[in-house]
Structures are given as C-alpha cells and as structure tokens.
C-alpha cells in the first residue's frame, strides 16, 4: 500500500489542527501501519532587537521547491520501508503559535517512521527554497536564516 503519488507540498496560510486530524484519520484503513511519526513546526514569538515576532511571511520558488520536495520523498521512500509520507509547508503569513510545517511518516514499526521523519525535517530546512520574513511588532521585519 505504498503511496508515492506526487503531492503539492505547499498550503496557503497556517496548517490547522483539523487538517492534521483528518490526515491521521485517513490512515485508519492502513492496517499494516503500527507507528506514525509527526513533526510540526510552529512560529515562535521570538524577541529580536527588543521587538517581538508577530508572524512569519513565507515565500518560495515554488517550481524548484516542489521538485526538491519530490526528490526528498523519493530518496526517503527508497531508504526506509514506509507505508506513507506527507509533507506540507505554509506559504504566506503564519501568526506566532500557528503551524507552518507538517511532516508525517508511517511504517509497520516505529524506528523507520521516526528516523525518516527527522531526516525529512532536516532536508526540508536545508534544501527547499523557502524564505521566512519575521514580522515584528513595530511593523519592521527581519529575514530569517536557518542555522
């Protein structure tokens, strides 16, 4: 029941808890699955230069980003015996406290789902052309950089 169809990785605005719930519920028919690993990235209200981050505005070079996400999906499916893999990233404005990244892996046993999920998150952050502009509470902003 391996599911490898090409999916769009980007959603406009925050990723809602209800969307995550329905994604989980969709896996109840996959009775070979014993373990799900989920990573959620949430926008932090960091304080930068005495100003608080209200939101992050995400942009992307979408055609390249979708291609890179597809390559990551293929590589991770080749490396780990996963039943399912889902990757979603926000575009546009996401408020502090809202979710901007949702990675979801499923496998018969736990190790594979957990390791694959962590590896996907690392690769998304380092390889996918997405930029976050941190909007501060005085209407100024700072371009975020992943370390």
């Amino acid at each position: 029941m391996t599911e490898k169809k090409k999916q769009n990785a980007f959603v406009v605005g925050p990723i809602s808890p209800e969307f995550i719930a329905s994604s989980i519920a969709n896996h109840q028919s996959k009775t070979n699955v014993g373990a799900h690993s989920i990573f959620l990235g949430q926008v932090r209200a960091d304080v930068l230069n005495d100003k608080e981050v209200l939101a992050i505005d995400y942009t992307s070079y979408v055609p390249m980003a979708e291609e890179i996400v597809h390559e990551i999906r293929e590589a991770i499916f080749a490396k780990y015996p996963l039943s399912c893999m889902h990757i979603y990233h926000s575009l546009g404005r996401v408020e502090a406290g809202q979710i901007c990244l949702f990675v979801f892996t499923s496998s018969p046993h736990r190790k594979e789902a957990q390791e694959a999920c962590a590896e996907i998150v690392e690769r998304i952050k380092s390889e996918v052309p997405v930029w976050g502009k941190e909007i501060l509470n005085d209407d100024s902003y700072i371009w975020k950089e992943n370390k």
């Binding site: 990235g41 995400y58 942009t59 992307s60 070079y61 055609p63 390249m64 291609e67 890179i68 990233h89 901007c100 990244l101 998150v121 998304i124 952050k125 380092s126 390889e127 996918v128 052309p129 997405v130 930029w131 976050g132 502009k133 371009w143 975020k144 950089e145 992943n146």
Partner: protein
C-alpha cells in the same frame, strides 16, 4: 544576443529592487555572480546561491539560452 531571465528571491529581491532581471548569455555562474556584484554592489553582503533549471549550480557551469535561473539567498523554511 541571447538572454535569460533571472528570478530574484527573499532578501535579494529587496536589495536589487526587483523580482526579475534579464541578462545576456552565455556565461558561467562565476561570471554571472561578478557581473551582478558589479552592477549591484550592495548584494556583496548577501550570501546567495544560483540555481539552473531548479538545481543549485557550481561556479563553472555554463548558463545558456532557455535555462531557468534563480538567485537564492539562504533558505529559512520550516
């Protein structure tokens, strides 16, 4: 003369002042970088990579007509 479009993203879009440039080709990535820095000196303080047809390109790769080129500052997704 052949030309390509350069898509410009993130912080670089602000520094250069547009999200798209038109540039004469062929030339290699290293030469494109130095021509950009000559025309827009302020981008020297911004680290960026150049992609050709959705792949990050090394400095010696030749850019030719029809290539999709983009200037990519450090990523900050997730």
């Amino acid at each position: 003369m052949d030309e390509v479009k350069l898509k410009v993203f993130g912080k670089l879009e602000e520094v250069i002042g547009t999200d798209e440039l038109v540039w004469s080709v062929p030339l290699d990535v290293k030469t494109l970088k130095s021509e950009l820095e000559n025309k827009y000196p302020s981008i020297r303080k911004v680290q960026f990579a150049i992609s050709i047809n959705n792949k990050i390109a090394s400095e010696d790769v030749l850019i030719k007509e029809g290539d999709k080129i983009a200037l990519l500052p450090p990523f900050s997704g997730g």
